[in-house]
Protein backbone atom coordinates (compact mmCIF):
# COMPACT_ATOMS: atom_id res chain seq x y z
CA UNK A 1 0.00 0.00 0.00
CA UNK A 2 2.76 2.39 1.04
CA UNK A 3 4.86 1.14 -1.87
CA UNK A 4 2.08 2.01 -4.31
CA UNK A 5 1.81 5.49 -2.77
CA UNK A 6 5.59 5.94 -3.09
CA UNK A 7 5.65 4.83 -6.72
CA UNK A 8 2.73 7.06 -7.64
CA UNK A 9 4.35 10.05 -5.88
CA UNK A 10 7.60 9.47 -7.72
CA UNK A 11 5.75 9.17 -11.03
CA UNK A 12 3.94 12.42 -10.28
CA UNK A 13 7.11 14.36 -9.47
CA UNK A 14 8.92 13.06 -12.55
CA UNK A 15 5.92 13.99 -14.67
CA UNK A 16 5.78 17.51 -13.27
CA UNK A 17 9.55 18.01 -13.58
CA UNK A 18 9.44 16.89 -17.21
CA UNK A 19 6.38 19.05 -17.94
CA UNK A 20 8.08 22.23 -16.77
CA UNK A 21 11.13 22.21 -19.05
CA UNK A 22 8.98 21.33 -22.04
CA UNK A 23 6.81 24.40 -21.33
CA UNK A 24 9.97 26.53 -21.37
CA UNK A 25 11.11 24.83 -24.52
CA UNK A 26 7.92 25.84 -26.25
CA UNK A 27 8.27 29.52 -25.32
CA UNK A 28 11.94 29.66 -26.31
CA UNK A 29 11.59 27.87 -29.62
CA UNK A 30 15.26 28.36 -30.38
CA UNK A 31 16.02 26.19 -27.39
CA UNK A 32 14.00 23.32 -28.83
CA UNK A 33 16.03 23.46 -32.02
CA UNK A 34 19.22 23.56 -29.96
CA UNK A 35 18.14 20.60 -27.86
CA UNK A 36 17.72 18.55 -30.99
CA UNK A 37 21.09 19.70 -32.37
CA UNK A 38 23.24 18.43 -29.50
CA UNK A 39 24.87 15.11 -30.27
CA UNK A 40 26.41 13.74 -27.11
CA UNK A 41 29.31 11.42 -27.56
CA UNK A 42 28.92 7.96 -26.03
CA UNK A 43 32.66 7.99 -25.31
CA UNK A 44 32.57 11.04 -23.10
CA UNK A 45 34.27 10.31 -19.79
CA UNK A 46 32.02 11.27 -16.92
CA UNK A 47 34.44 10.23 -14.26
CA UNK A 48 38.19 9.93 -14.60
CA UNK A 49 39.89 8.22 -11.68
CA UNK A 50 42.97 10.29 -12.36
CA UNK A 51 41.18 13.50 -11.50
CA UNK A 52 42.54 16.74 -12.91
CA UNK A 53 46.22 16.80 -13.66
CA UNK A 54 48.10 19.59 -11.98
CA UNK A 55 50.56 20.31 -14.75
CA UNK A 56 49.15 20.52 -18.25
CA UNK A 57 51.81 20.85 -20.93
CA UNK A 58 50.65 22.40 -24.18
CA UNK A 59 52.78 21.59 -27.21
CA UNK A 60 56.36 22.37 -26.24
CA UNK A 61 55.50 24.42 -23.17
CA UNK A 62 55.85 22.67 -19.85
CA UNK A 63 54.87 24.42 -16.61
CA UNK A 64 57.79 24.45 -14.20
CA UNK A 65 57.44 24.29 -10.43
CA UNK A 66 60.52 24.95 -8.27
CA UNK A 67 61.44 22.13 -5.91
CA UNK A 68 60.54 23.97 -2.74
CA UNK A 69 57.44 25.72 -4.02
CA UNK A 70 54.13 24.59 -2.59
CA UNK A 71 51.56 24.13 -5.31
CA UNK A 72 48.33 22.57 -4.04
CA UNK A 73 47.15 19.43 -5.83
CA UNK A 74 43.97 21.28 -6.69
CA UNK A 75 45.74 23.85 -8.82
CA UNK A 76 45.84 23.78 -12.61
CA UNK A 77 49.02 25.04 -14.29
CA UNK A 78 48.71 25.02 -18.06
CA UNK A 79 51.12 26.20 -20.75
CA UNK A 80 53.99 28.57 -20.02
CA UNK A 81 53.93 28.89 -16.25
CA UNK A 82 56.95 29.19 -13.97
CA UNK A 83 56.57 29.00 -10.21
CA UNK A 84 59.85 30.16 -8.69
CA UNK A 85 61.56 29.16 -5.44
CA UNK A 86 59.71 29.66 -2.21
CA UNK A 87 56.51 30.60 -3.99
CA UNK A 88 53.20 29.05 -3.16
CA UNK A 89 50.03 28.58 -5.11
CA UNK A 90 47.10 27.75 -2.87
CA UNK A 91 44.17 25.42 -3.56
CA UNK A 92 41.72 26.11 -6.33
CA UNK A 93 43.86 28.46 -8.38
CA UNK A 94 44.11 28.26 -12.13
CA UNK A 95 47.24 29.59 -13.85
CA UNK A 96 46.61 29.45 -17.56
CA UNK A 97 49.66 30.38 -19.55
CA UNK A 98 48.33 29.23 -22.88
CA UNK A 99 48.56 32.48 -24.81
CA UNK A 100 51.45 34.09 -22.97
CA UNK A 101 53.87 33.55 -20.06
CA UNK A 102 53.00 33.55 -16.38
CA UNK A 103 55.71 33.85 -13.74
CA UNK A 104 55.25 33.69 -9.99
CA UNK A 105 58.38 35.17 -8.44
CA UNK A 106 60.52 34.27 -5.46
CA UNK A 107 58.65 33.93 -2.16
CA UNK A 108 55.40 35.18 -3.70
CA UNK A 109 52.08 33.58 -3.07
CA UNK A 110 48.97 33.21 -5.13
CA UNK A 111 46.20 32.45 -2.69
CA UNK A 112 43.07 30.37 -2.99
CA UNK A 113 40.89 30.30 -6.07
CA UNK A 114 42.80 32.90 -8.08
CA UNK A 115 42.76 32.87 -11.84
CA UNK A 116 45.90 34.09 -13.59
CA UNK A 117 45.63 34.33 -17.31
CA UNK A 118 47.65 36.10 -19.92
CA UNK A 119 46.07 37.60 -22.99
CA UNK A 120 47.73 37.43 -26.36
CA UNK A 121 48.34 41.15 -26.58
CA UNK A 122 48.06 43.98 -24.16
CA UNK A 123 46.35 47.33 -24.88
CA UNK A 124 49.50 49.12 -23.69
CA UNK A 125 51.60 47.46 -26.37
CA UNK A 126 54.03 46.12 -23.78
CA UNK A 127 54.56 42.36 -23.53
CA UNK A 128 51.33 40.85 -22.32
CA UNK A 129 52.76 38.29 -19.96
CA UNK A 130 51.56 38.10 -16.40
CA UNK A 131 54.58 38.46 -14.18
CA UNK A 132 54.46 38.49 -10.45
CA UNK A 133 57.81 39.51 -9.01
CA UNK A 134 59.30 38.57 -5.65
CA UNK A 135 57.60 38.94 -2.26
CA UNK A 136 54.15 39.64 -3.71
CA UNK A 137 50.98 38.48 -1.97
CA UNK A 138 48.00 37.97 -4.22
CA UNK A 139 44.90 37.69 -2.03
CA UNK A 140 42.28 35.00 -2.42
CA UNK A 141 39.85 34.91 -5.33
CA UNK A 142 41.74 37.50 -7.38
CA UNK A 143 41.72 37.61 -11.14
CA UNK A 144 44.89 38.72 -12.88
CA UNK A 145 45.04 39.09 -16.60
CA UNK A 146 48.22 40.18 -18.39
CA UNK A 147 49.41 42.40 -15.56
CA UNK A 148 52.79 43.11 -14.05
CA UNK A 149 53.22 43.22 -10.34
CA UNK A 150 56.57 44.62 -9.25
CA UNK A 151 58.43 43.37 -6.18
CA UNK A 152 56.95 43.60 -2.69
CA UNK A 153 53.28 44.37 -3.24
CA UNK A 154 50.05 43.20 -1.74
CA UNK A 155 46.99 42.64 -3.87
CA UNK A 156 43.86 42.36 -1.75
CA UNK A 157 41.32 39.56 -1.88
CA UNK A 158 38.80 39.36 -4.70
CA UNK A 159 40.57 42.02 -6.71
CA UNK A 160 40.51 42.14 -10.48
CA UNK A 161 43.53 43.36 -12.42
CA UNK A 162 42.82 43.75 -16.09
CA UNK A 163 45.09 43.72 -19.12
CA UNK A 164 48.16 45.89 -19.02
CA UNK A 165 47.89 46.94 -15.37
CA UNK A 166 51.08 47.70 -13.54
CA UNK A 167 51.35 47.66 -9.78
CA UNK A 168 54.62 49.28 -8.81
CA UNK A 169 56.87 48.39 -5.88
CA UNK A 170 55.51 48.65 -2.33
CA UNK A 171 51.93 49.32 -3.41
CA UNK A 172 48.92 47.80 -1.68
CA UNK A 173 45.58 47.18 -3.30
CA UNK A 174 42.66 46.87 -0.95
CA UNK A 175 40.31 43.92 -1.17
CA UNK A 176 37.76 44.09 -3.96
CA UNK A 177 39.60 46.63 -6.06
CA UNK A 178 39.22 46.55 -9.82
CA UNK A 179 42.00 47.94 -12.00
CA UNK A 180 40.81 48.92 -15.48
CA UNK A 181 43.04 48.00 -18.41
CA UNK A 182 46.35 49.84 -18.44
CA UNK A 183 46.06 51.31 -14.94
CA UNK A 184 49.34 52.02 -13.13
CA UNK A 185 49.55 52.08 -9.38
CA UNK A 186 52.53 54.26 -8.38
CA UNK A 187 55.10 53.21 -5.80
CA UNK A 188 54.19 53.19 -2.15
CA UNK A 189 50.49 53.97 -2.44
CA UNK A 190 47.29 52.39 -1.24
CA UNK A 191 44.49 52.12 -3.77
CA UNK A 192 40.99 50.76 -3.37
CA UNK A 193 37.61 50.61 -5.03
CA UNK A 194 35.89 49.62 -8.24
CA UNK A 195 37.41 51.19 -10.34
CA UNK A 196 40.48 51.62 -8.14
CA UNK A 197 41.16 55.08 -6.80
CA UNK A 198 43.97 56.54 -4.75
CA UNK A 199 43.42 56.40 -0.99
CA UNK A 200 46.67 57.41 0.70
CA UNK A 201 50.41 56.83 0.63
CA UNK A 202 51.87 54.14 2.79
CA UNK A 203 54.06 54.89 5.79
CA UNK A 204 57.54 53.45 5.85
CA UNK A 205 56.59 50.92 8.56
CA UNK A 206 53.77 49.58 6.42
CA UNK A 207 56.16 49.26 3.49
CA UNK A 208 58.46 47.12 5.65
CA UNK A 209 55.57 44.85 6.57
CA UNK A 210 54.91 43.82 2.98
CA UNK A 211 57.80 41.40 2.47
CA UNK A 212 57.25 40.13 6.03
CA UNK A 213 53.75 39.05 5.05
CA UNK A 214 55.09 37.20 2.02
CA UNK A 215 57.69 35.45 4.16
CA UNK A 216 55.07 34.53 6.76
CA UNK A 217 52.92 32.92 4.10
CA UNK A 218 55.99 31.18 2.76
CA UNK A 219 56.53 29.65 6.24
CA UNK A 220 52.91 28.54 6.31
CA UNK A 221 53.24 27.00 2.89
CA UNK A 222 56.21 24.97 4.08
CA UNK A 223 53.94 23.27 6.62
CA UNK A 224 51.53 22.38 3.83
CA UNK A 225 54.41 21.23 1.67
CA UNK A 226 55.51 18.80 4.38
CA UNK A 227 52.14 17.10 4.33
CA UNK A 228 52.72 15.69 0.89
CA UNK A 229 55.04 12.84 0.05
CA UNK A 230 57.35 13.48 -2.91
CA UNK A 231 55.56 10.78 -4.85
CA UNK A 232 51.93 9.92 -4.46
CA UNK A 233 50.98 6.49 -3.13
CA UNK A 234 47.73 6.48 -5.05
CA UNK A 235 49.13 3.95 -7.49
CA UNK A 236 48.50 1.30 -4.84
CA UNK A 237 44.84 2.25 -4.84
CA UNK A 238 44.78 2.09 -8.63
CA UNK A 239 46.28 -1.38 -8.61
CA UNK A 240 43.77 -2.54 -6.02
CA UNK A 241 40.96 -1.00 -8.02
CA UNK A 242 42.03 -2.58 -11.27
CA UNK A 243 42.43 -5.96 -9.58
CA UNK A 244 38.92 -5.72 -8.18
CA UNK A 245 37.58 -5.00 -11.66
CA UNK A 246 39.67 -7.73 -13.20
CA UNK A 247 41.74 -5.39 -15.38
CA UNK A 248 45.33 -6.53 -15.79
CA UNK A 249 47.92 -4.12 -14.43
Amino acid sequence: MAAVARVSRRALTSFSSSAQPSAFHRTFSAEAAKAAAITPSPDRVKWDYRGQRRIIPLGQWLPKIAVDAYVAPNVVLAGQVTVCDGASVWPGSVLRGDLNKITVGFCSNVQERCVLHAAWSSPTGLPAETSIERFVTIGAYSLLRSCTIEPECIVGQHSILMEGSLVETHAILEAGSVLPPGRRIPTGELWAGNPARFVRTLTHEETLEIPKLAVAINDLSKEYFQEFLPYSTVYLEVEKFKKSLGISI
Binding site: Y49, A78, G92, D98, R113, V115, V178
Partner: protein, 272 residues
Amino acid sequence: MGTLGRAIYTVGFWIRETGQAIDRLGSSLQGGYYFKEQLSRHRTLMNVFDKAPVVDKDVFVAPSASIIGDVQVGRGSSIWYGCVLRGDVNNIVVGSGTNIQDNSLVHVAKSNLSGKVLPTIIGDNVTVGHSAVIHGCTVEDEAFVGMGATLLDGVVVEKHAMVAAGSLVRQNTKIPSGEVWAGNPAKFLRKLTDEEIAFISQSATNYTNLAQVHAAENVKSFDEIEFEKALRKKFAHKDEEYDSMLGVVREIPPELILPDNVLPDKAAKDQK
Protein backbone atom coordinates in the same frame (compact mmCIF):
# COMPACT_ATOMS: atom_id res chain seq x y z
CA MET B 1 73.25 -11.10 -20.57
CA GLY B 2 69.74 -12.48 -20.22
CA THR B 3 70.38 -13.77 -16.71
CA LEU B 4 72.11 -10.52 -15.71
CA GLY B 5 69.09 -8.58 -16.92
CA ARG B 6 66.80 -10.82 -14.94
CA ALA B 7 68.99 -10.47 -11.86
CA ILE B 8 68.91 -6.69 -12.04
CA TYR B 9 65.16 -6.76 -12.57
CA THR B 10 64.68 -8.97 -9.52
CA VAL B 11 66.92 -6.77 -7.38
CA GLY B 12 64.94 -3.76 -8.51
CA PHE B 13 61.79 -5.56 -7.50
CA TRP B 14 63.22 -6.36 -4.04
CA ILE B 15 64.13 -2.72 -3.54
CA ARG B 16 60.60 -1.66 -4.42
CA GLU B 17 59.12 -4.22 -2.07
CA THR B 18 61.42 -3.01 0.69
CA GLY B 19 60.38 0.53 -0.07
CA GLN B 20 56.74 -0.36 0.21
CA ALA B 21 57.33 -2.18 3.47
CA ILE B 22 59.15 0.82 4.89
CA ASP B 23 56.27 2.97 3.70
CA ARG B 24 53.88 0.76 5.63
CA LEU B 25 56.13 1.05 8.68
CA GLY B 26 56.16 4.81 8.41
CA SER B 27 52.37 4.87 8.05
CA SER B 28 51.94 2.84 11.19
CA LEU B 29 54.27 5.24 13.01
CA GLN B 30 52.06 8.11 11.88
CA GLY B 31 49.21 6.30 13.60
CA GLY B 32 46.07 8.34 13.90
CA TYR B 33 47.29 11.08 11.59
CA TYR B 34 48.10 8.76 8.75
CA PHE B 35 46.60 9.98 5.49
CA LYS B 36 45.62 7.41 2.92
CA GLU B 37 45.51 8.78 -0.59
CA GLN B 38 42.39 7.89 -2.44
CA LEU B 39 41.37 7.94 -6.03
CA SER B 40 39.66 11.10 -7.12
CA ARG B 41 35.90 10.71 -6.92
CA HIS B 42 35.24 13.97 -8.63
CA ARG B 43 32.66 13.49 -11.33
CA THR B 44 32.87 15.87 -14.22
CA LEU B 45 29.37 15.12 -15.45
CA MET B 46 27.07 14.22 -12.63
CA ASN B 47 23.39 13.29 -12.55
CA VAL B 48 21.08 14.44 -9.85
CA PHE B 49 18.56 11.59 -9.79
CA ASP B 50 16.93 11.70 -13.22
CA LYS B 51 18.45 14.92 -14.47
CA ALA B 52 21.51 14.19 -16.53
CA PRO B 53 23.72 16.64 -18.37
CA VAL B 54 23.61 16.50 -22.16
CA VAL B 55 26.90 17.67 -23.55
CA ASP B 56 27.80 17.72 -27.23
CA LYS B 57 30.79 15.70 -28.36
CA ASP B 58 32.79 18.72 -29.53
CA VAL B 59 32.64 20.42 -26.16
CA PHE B 60 35.78 20.74 -24.05
CA VAL B 61 34.87 20.06 -20.44
CA ALA B 62 37.86 20.45 -18.14
CA PRO B 63 38.27 17.50 -15.77
CA SER B 64 38.09 19.78 -12.75
CA ALA B 65 34.82 21.32 -13.92
CA SER B 66 31.50 20.05 -12.57
CA ILE B 67 28.44 19.83 -14.76
CA ILE B 68 25.61 18.70 -12.56
CA GLY B 69 21.97 18.05 -13.24
CA ASP B 70 19.84 19.33 -16.08
CA VAL B 71 22.46 21.09 -18.22
CA GLN B 72 22.70 21.19 -21.99
CA VAL B 73 25.85 22.33 -23.70
CA GLY B 74 25.89 22.89 -27.45
CA ARG B 75 28.67 22.14 -29.90
CA GLY B 76 32.04 23.87 -29.92
CA SER B 77 31.51 25.29 -26.45
CA SER B 78 34.05 25.00 -23.70
CA ILE B 79 33.75 24.72 -19.97
CA TRP B 80 37.11 25.56 -18.41
CA TYR B 81 38.96 24.52 -15.28
CA GLY B 82 37.13 24.68 -12.02
CA CYS B 83 33.72 25.74 -13.34
CA VAL B 84 30.54 24.61 -11.73
CA LEU B 85 27.35 24.43 -13.76
CA ARG B 86 24.71 23.39 -11.34
CA GLY B 87 21.40 22.57 -12.97
CA ASP B 88 19.95 20.86 -9.97
CA VAL B 89 16.80 22.83 -9.27
CA ASN B 90 16.16 24.12 -12.77
CA ASN B 91 17.71 23.73 -16.18
CA ILE B 92 20.72 25.39 -17.77
CA VAL B 93 21.09 25.69 -21.53
CA VAL B 94 24.45 26.73 -22.93
CA GLY B 95 24.55 27.39 -26.67
CA SER B 96 27.19 26.55 -29.20
CA GLY B 97 30.61 28.23 -29.46
CA THR B 98 30.22 29.63 -25.97
CA ASN B 99 33.05 29.58 -23.49
CA ILE B 100 32.58 29.55 -19.75
CA GLN B 101 36.04 30.40 -18.45
CA ASP B 102 37.88 29.18 -15.37
CA ASN B 103 36.29 29.04 -11.93
CA SER B 104 32.91 30.37 -13.05
CA LEU B 105 29.65 29.40 -11.49
CA VAL B 106 26.37 29.00 -13.37
CA HIS B 107 23.45 28.23 -11.15
CA VAL B 108 19.67 28.45 -11.27
CA ALA B 109 17.26 29.57 -8.65
CA LYS B 110 14.36 27.51 -7.45
CA SER B 111 12.71 30.00 -5.19
CA ASN B 112 13.19 33.67 -5.49
CA LEU B 113 12.12 36.63 -3.42
CA SER B 114 9.93 37.79 -6.25
CA GLY B 115 8.55 34.30 -6.78
CA LYS B 116 9.72 33.79 -10.32
CA VAL B 117 11.74 30.71 -11.15
CA LEU B 118 14.04 31.07 -14.10
CA PRO B 119 16.18 28.66 -16.01
CA THR B 120 19.57 29.96 -17.05
CA ILE B 121 19.93 30.33 -20.78
CA ILE B 122 23.26 31.26 -22.29
CA GLY B 123 23.20 31.77 -26.03
CA ASP B 124 25.70 31.07 -28.82
CA ASN B 125 29.22 32.53 -29.02
CA VAL B 126 28.99 34.08 -25.57
CA THR B 127 32.18 34.72 -23.63
CA VAL B 128 31.76 34.35 -19.89
CA GLY B 129 34.94 35.59 -18.22
CA HIS B 130 36.93 34.02 -15.39
CA SER B 131 35.19 33.59 -12.02
CA ALA B 132 31.89 35.00 -13.19
CA VAL B 133 28.79 34.14 -11.21
CA ILE B 134 25.65 33.70 -13.29
CA HIS B 135 22.53 32.95 -11.31
CA GLY B 136 19.22 32.45 -13.09
CA CYS B 137 19.96 34.80 -16.02
CA THR B 138 19.45 34.93 -19.72
CA VAL B 139 22.53 35.83 -21.70
CA GLU B 140 21.79 36.21 -25.38
CA ASP B 141 24.04 35.39 -28.33
CA GLU B 142 27.44 37.07 -28.72
CA ALA B 143 27.34 38.84 -25.39
CA PHE B 144 30.38 39.32 -23.21
CA VAL B 145 30.34 38.83 -19.46
CA GLY B 146 33.56 40.24 -18.03
CA MET B 147 35.68 38.39 -15.50
CA GLY B 148 34.56 38.44 -11.90
CA ALA B 149 31.14 39.76 -12.83
CA THR B 150 28.18 38.70 -10.75
CA LEU B 151 24.84 38.49 -12.51
CA LEU B 152 21.96 37.99 -10.13
CA ASP B 153 18.50 36.51 -10.76
CA GLY B 154 16.49 37.53 -13.76
CA VAL B 155 19.17 39.58 -15.48
CA VAL B 156 18.90 39.69 -19.26
CA VAL B 157 22.06 40.52 -21.17
CA GLU B 158 21.06 41.25 -24.73
CA LYS B 159 22.93 40.49 -27.91
CA HIS B 160 26.29 42.29 -28.29
CA ALA B 161 26.14 43.73 -24.79
CA MET B 162 29.07 43.73 -22.44
CA VAL B 163 29.15 43.41 -18.67
CA ALA B 164 32.45 44.86 -17.52
CA ALA B 165 34.84 43.06 -15.19
CA GLY B 166 33.99 43.03 -11.53
CA SER B 167 30.50 44.41 -11.90
CA LEU B 168 27.53 43.36 -9.86
CA VAL B 169 24.36 43.35 -11.94
CA ARG B 170 21.32 43.49 -9.69
CA GLN B 171 18.19 41.41 -10.04
CA ASN B 172 16.00 41.76 -13.12
CA THR B 173 18.26 44.31 -14.80
CA LYS B 174 18.08 44.34 -18.56
CA ILE B 175 21.30 45.24 -20.29
CA PRO B 176 20.39 46.59 -23.73
CA SER B 177 22.15 45.61 -26.89
CA GLY B 178 25.49 47.25 -27.69
CA GLU B 179 26.10 48.80 -24.29
CA VAL B 180 28.74 48.36 -21.61
CA TRP B 181 27.53 48.25 -18.05
CA ALA B 182 29.99 48.41 -15.17
CA GLY B 183 30.28 48.97 -11.47
CA ASN B 184 28.62 47.80 -8.33
CA PRO B 185 25.63 48.12 -8.77
CA ALA B 186 25.99 47.96 -12.54
CA LYS B 187 25.13 51.11 -14.43
CA PHE B 188 25.41 52.15 -18.04
CA LEU B 189 28.99 53.10 -18.85
CA ARG B 190 29.26 53.63 -22.58
CA LYS B 191 28.26 52.20 -25.93
CA LEU B 192 30.31 49.53 -27.64
CA THR B 193 32.11 50.45 -30.84
CA ASP B 194 31.65 48.20 -33.89
CA GLU B 195 35.26 47.09 -33.53
CA GLU B 196 34.59 45.83 -30.06
CA ILE B 197 31.49 43.97 -31.17
CA ALA B 198 33.49 42.23 -33.86
CA PHE B 199 36.12 41.44 -31.25
CA ILE B 200 33.58 39.61 -29.11
CA SER B 201 32.77 37.08 -31.81
CA GLN B 202 36.45 36.78 -32.72
CA SER B 203 37.34 36.02 -29.11
CA ALA B 204 34.70 33.31 -28.98
CA THR B 205 36.25 31.66 -32.04
CA ASN B 206 39.76 31.95 -30.56
CA TYR B 207 38.57 30.27 -27.42
CA THR B 208 36.98 27.40 -29.31
CA ASN B 209 40.32 26.71 -30.98
CA LEU B 210 42.19 26.99 -27.70
CA ALA B 211 39.69 24.62 -26.12
CA GLN B 212 40.49 21.94 -28.68
CA VAL B 213 44.16 22.07 -27.67
CA HIS B 214 43.32 21.78 -24.00
CA ALA B 215 40.81 19.02 -24.70
CA ALA B 216 43.41 17.01 -26.59
CA GLU B 217 45.90 17.45 -23.78
CA ASN B 218 43.56 16.55 -20.95
CA VAL B 219 42.32 13.37 -22.53
CA LYS B 220 45.75 11.84 -22.99
CA SER B 221 46.45 8.45 -21.50
CA PHE B 222 49.33 7.75 -19.18
CA ASP B 223 51.48 6.30 -21.94
CA GLU B 224 51.05 9.31 -24.17
CA ILE B 225 51.94 11.65 -21.33
CA GLU B 226 55.11 9.75 -20.52
CA PHE B 227 56.11 9.62 -24.17
CA GLU B 228 55.71 13.34 -24.56
CA LYS B 229 57.67 13.98 -21.39
CA ALA B 230 60.56 12.08 -22.92
CA LEU B 231 60.22 14.00 -26.18
CA ARG B 232 60.22 17.31 -24.38
CA LYS B 233 63.30 16.42 -22.42
CA LYS B 234 65.04 15.60 -25.64
CA PHE B 235 64.09 18.92 -27.21
CA ALA B 236 64.71 21.04 -24.12
CA HIS B 237 68.19 22.08 -25.12
CA LYS B 238 67.59 22.64 -28.77
CA ASP B 239 67.26 26.28 -29.65
CA GLU B 240 65.83 27.20 -33.01
CA GLU B 241 67.97 30.30 -33.46
CA TYR B 242 71.19 28.46 -32.72
CA ASP B 243 70.21 25.71 -35.11
CA SER B 244 69.48 28.16 -37.90
CA MET B 245 72.92 29.71 -37.33
CA LEU B 246 74.49 26.32 -37.81
CA GLY B 247 72.34 25.67 -40.82
CA VAL B 248 70.68 22.73 -39.17
CA VAL B 249 66.98 22.25 -39.65
CA ARG B 250 65.58 20.24 -36.82
CA GLU B 251 62.06 19.01 -36.97
CA ILE B 252 59.93 19.35 -33.92
CA PRO B 253 58.03 16.12 -33.43
CA PRO B 254 54.41 16.52 -34.46
CA GLU B 255 53.19 15.72 -30.96
CA LEU B 256 54.81 18.88 -29.66
CA ILE B 257 53.46 21.28 -32.27
CA LEU B 258 50.47 23.37 -31.34
CA PRO B 259 47.86 23.85 -34.08
CA ASP B 260 48.35 27.16 -35.86
CA ASN B 261 44.95 28.64 -35.18
CA VAL B 262 45.54 28.80 -31.42
CA LEU B 263 47.83 31.79 -31.26
CA PRO B 264 46.08 34.75 -32.91
CA ASP B 265 49.31 35.97 -34.51
CA LYS B 266 49.91 32.74 -36.35
CA ALA B 267 46.28 32.47 -37.35
CA ALA B 268 46.46 35.90 -38.95
CA LYS B 269 49.61 34.89 -40.84
CA ASP B 270 47.85 31.78 -42.09
CA GLN B 271 44.95 33.81 -43.35
CA LYS B 272 47.29 36.07 -45.29
